[in-house]
Symmetry: C2
Subunit: 637 residues, 2 copies
């Protein structure tokens, strides 16, 4: 059924759209304690304030950059070679891993030996690594032994966004800079519902958060290409983009394109949910070219191996799949170990039953065998695999509600409690854990999800799909869910799994992926603002200042999607001269409120004294009533 | 600068897209206590459940219908004649109004006499009405005198959505119907923050809400074409769509098209914010063809009359504009009477000053004259005009924040307190009032807006623009604001003013209008669900049931935008046979979780007893552990 042209490894090329420079943006790196810790940021250059509004210099704004080497003009991108293995030395120098001769999974060896696959196989010259016998190579294990890894330092630098340096250098630059520092640095105190976000993230703080399980750094030793990032309630809210083909759609090239497209727009991690042909090969291409952590749901592939017959799944097949994928470098595995046999009947009265694919596969298996889930029973054995490669758990919510009707029901909450129990088992093995969450939940029932997750899962990071706040808008579920995602992010969710406009209807194309990403970047940022994440408001402040000063290009460029902003503007005012116009098509020259506000300020200056004084003077002439009321109002806060 | 082809009244035609039937939808009317109270609804027909899933009949779902006669195949639409004056007799029979000889405003007479305008003028054969001397024709006035008007009864029937009849007729239809009634009628108890929504809306309840000012029915006596609707915290959350040309864009035909397009997708009211040429004539075309209330900001037109020079505005010009527009039939006026002279200096230190056009115009006027706003000082005179036509106040938030930085500042809150003071003045005159709200507000500061509004404005309906929860996504402000709108709707806002993707960038085209409307329908409905509005969940339940049963067409048709849902589905599974497929392109036939859940249920049935029992039986064979834990879990709630 796949109508796509055949993918050939030898001619594979990067999507040109992924390597175009973003307007006025520059890739910069900040070096850590050693030369090979180079943390990437994007700097967005700004124009000066127009002379009529003061003429001040607006220094570039630094933003978090997930796009990896693709947007670095100094890096030659060839997806056939994959990205440079940034972490290779960090992993090697720890001395606790060994290079294998080749894949140790039966399936991995079989695929490698199949000559029919040569044409589309990624040509990897590196054998997989595994922990030495008895060793544990997780970031959590290091953290608990007091070791600050380069990954942790990288994360610390990354999370700070060079904020302090920025404000300090502004302050040091004179009175105009001091005013700017005050303006851009000001932020509303947030409401964080018990999060503990420090003003500055130190490597030691990262270590401590990872050690206590409140954050994870997904970083498989076989994915040395990643730029480390953290998922945790006391860090910036992250977003995940799902990609993946199915039996009826998509090809390898498309999936690699979706990955590079996702990270260009801000995807912090990418899940490859492929279920069709060549899953193994597709995954290899994605991982080798991904600077962000890759997650998968191994049960999907295990099911492929038994021709879609859930009841034929075995622990042995599943185990081999875990090893196969761990040796390719998957950074986190969704494991639906909380779908226990006793919970299945709790779903019988639901409106929409079990909507998680992994959950329904396991439910079917449990029933077919009248047995407890092998994922639950073999959980400690799974932990042994996870810690040999540092794969993080994403404990799947196989019983999440698939409709408003089913929200927060006993099936869902029973599973959540089990995930909390499993979290403690994983932590016993120093294996990193995050917890997946719903789903479809009306707004007023979202907070209960977060509260119960914190309670039952001991502050392990929460990673939610939306939630969708209504079922009635197929085609717009990026929005129904963006509303819920912003809220749950505010309440404490560490990573938001995007939902695209195609949810419930089909597989997302590149446009859908971008719509999903931007919507979720909005939700995550709105959550950071509401939590009062230090410095989160700088970008809002800078953009609003640009908007107020009619710096149209800066307004576009500081936004999440400069291309769309510019296109929209140009639809009604296409001429270049209009980009410096002090009005726009919405109101025209006379009615522009921004312009009138400027007039108000200018008027105040014209009449001789400073703005506020002038206005006060004008008002003193007015009436006793004003002085009384106005003064009262002015001093109230 | 206007490149649009010239609009000619004689050849004006309805937008064909506005009169296409919605798929499987039927216009139905419910009659009230008299034959001329005919309340429109849309009924969405559903297919039977597939035989393999039980084969039950799924009765049609009734939804709120704002589209007016345009979607009634029995009505001949000719925009040159306008809509039928549904309320004409109701107004006439009250005997408290008089038909004038013609417009009583100077401007209205001037425009009517101008032969150059003949070509584009709507040909109205009806003279305006006005209250008889000393009479008060507001719905609030009637309500306070204990009169239940036909408008109030219309609203009551409309708000109930025939819910009780629906559930009762299902229950009466046998065991299958009883099961359906249980399934579709079930709803989560909401969290309404003090709203008092009865299970059934009676005409008397509507009267009481209007009498105490907690709801308004915008219904100018010169807009007899409207289908009455209510805006209030104890009714369904409503949305408003802004349309309007400007000096640099758009034409009359386009604006009428945007109005019909808005109501097709669910706009409950429409604001005509035109600022360009022919405002008067454009407005006439819109009102005569609008079945929903129309709002305006009269100061925009008043400013046109003084060539954009705010300082040249006078009370006389403004007063004439109010009368001109009231006699055309505008249902609510945004009046920025809370922008008082003493509050202007409070905006001087803002990031984005005064972003409301009306607010900045009035601020400029106040400063230019060193005088208190004439809107504030003449407020009682304005009330006299409002009550002569039943124009409702939408007290404008001229000092709303235009950036996250400026949220909830003293300028904004000072104005809000003033609006509360003015509300009481208006109520003294029995004039209906709603209060406009922000703007740009981070999530954690939204509730304060609602709480303060309720406190200071005595529960007059709140009508907010978003709020936008971050500034960093120009091009996506329907989403940044949809997040805030859903929340503030939940907290108690009665009507949400949409924001389109073009916000801050340009004037919306039809696509933008639709994107804005659907986003805000989502926000409003998510709010209704969270408040626990009775019956709000029926549509979600029906849609989710359709989704679960693979009734693809029903899933599309029950959604807010069937066209987009169907197009998205067809992109990856275009064949007609795929619309009955029991899987979709996302997962393919083997992996479909819905299908697997069905298998789970079937499996349970195959093994002989009822589903839950079968599963329990299976589990009893398992272990003591299960019985203990499972039973505990099952009985917990």
């Amino acid at each position: 059924m796949n109508a796509n042209p055949k993918f050939i490894a030898a001619t594979a090329q990067v999507d040109q759209a992924a390597i175009q420079p973003l307007p006025k943006s520059r890739k910069v790196y900040e070096q850590g304690s050693r030369p090979d810790i180079r943390v990437p940021f994007r700097e967005i250059e700004q124009a000066d304030t127009p002379t009529m509004f003061g003429g001040e210099k607006n220094p570039p704004i630094t933003v978090y950059d997930t796009s990896g080497p693709y947007t670095d003009p100094d890096v030659k991108i060839d997806i056939r070679s994959g990205l440079a293995p940034l972490r290779e030395n960090w992993i090697a120098e720890r001395g606790d891993t060994e290079q294998l001769d080749g894949p140790s999974s039966a399936y991995g060896r079989e695929r490698l030996a199949d000559p029919k696959l040569a044409e589309l196989r990624f040509n990897l010259h590196r054998a997989p690594r595994r922990a030495k016998a008895g060793a544990n190579v997780t970031q959590m294990h290091y953290a608990r032994r007091g070791i600050v890894t380069p990954e942790m330092e990288f994360v610390a630098i990354r999370e700070n966004l060079r904020r302090e340096q920025y404000i300090e250098s502004l302050r040091a630059s004179g009175p105009q800079g001091q005013r700017l520092a005050e303006l851009l640095g000001r932020q509303h105190p947030g409401q964080s519902f018990g999060a503990s976000i420090p003003a500055r993230i130190t490597p030691e703080f990262v270590r401590d958060e990872v050690a206590r399980g409140r954050a994870i750094i997904p970083a498989n030793i076989n994915h040395p290409e990643i730029e480390p990032m953290a998922i945790g309630r006391n860090f910036l809210v992250k977003i995940n983009a799902n990609i993946g083909n199915s039996a009826v759609s998509s090809s390898i090239a498309e999936e690699v394109e979706k990955m590079t497209w996702s990270i260009r727009w801000g995807g912090d991690t990418v899940m490859d949910l492929s279920t069709g042909k060549h899953i193994h090969e597709t995954r290899e291409w994605i991982i080798r070219n991904s600077p962000v952590p890759i997650g998968t749901v191994p049960i999907y592939q295990a099911l492929e191996k038994v021709d879609g017959k859930a009841e034929e799944l075995t622990w042995e097949i599943f185990r081999d799949t875990l090893i196969e994928q761990a040796e390719q470098g998957v950074d986190y595995f969704t494991i639906h170990a909380g779908v226990r046999l006793p919970f299945v009947p709790l779903t019988a009265k639901r409106m929409t039953g079990i909507v998680s694919r992994g959950g329904s596969i396991m439910a079917k298996w449990c029933l077919a065998h009248h047995k407890e889930s092998f994922l639950y029973e073999r959980f400690e054995e799974i932990c042994e695999i996870m810690k040999a490669y540092d794969v993080s758990f994403s404990l799947g919510d196989g019983l999440r509600p698939g409709s408003i009707y089913d929200a927060n029901d006993e099936a869902q909450l029973s599973e959540l409690r089990t995930l909390g129990e499993l979290t403690q088992v994983a932590w016993k093995h120093d294996v990193q854990v995050m917890i997946e969450g719903p789903g479809h939940v009306p707004m007023h029932m979202i907070k209960e999800n977060m509260d119960l997750q914190l309670e039952h899962c001991h502050e392990a990071p929460f990673y939610t799909l939306g939630p969708l706040t209504t079922d009635i808008a197929p085609g717009y579920d990026h929005i129904t869910s963006g509303i819920g995602a912003a809220q749950i992010g505010w309440y404490g969710t560490a990573m938001l799994c995007y939902v695209t406009p195609k949810e419930h209807l089909g597989l997302p194309n590149k446009k859908d992926v971008k719509d999903g990403i931007i919507t979720y970047k909005i939700a995550a940022h709105a959550a950071d603002l509401a939590k009062g994440h230090p410095g989160a408001q700088i970008r809002d402040n800078a953009l609003s200042k640009a908007r107020f000063e009619f710096r149209w290009e800066d307004q576009f460029n500081l936004g999440l999607d400069p291309d769309t902003a510019k296109d929209f503007h140009d639809e009604t005012l296409p001429k270049d001269s209009m980009k410096v116009a002090h009005f726009c098509s919405m109101c025209g020259p006379h009615f522009c409120s921004m312009k009138i506000t400027q007039d108000v300020r200018e008027y105040a200056e014209q009449i001789g004294v400073s703005e506020a004084e002038a206005l006060n003077k004008g008002m003193q002439e007015k009436a006793v009533e004003f002085v009384k009321k106005g003064a009262e109002i002015y001093h109230r806060s």
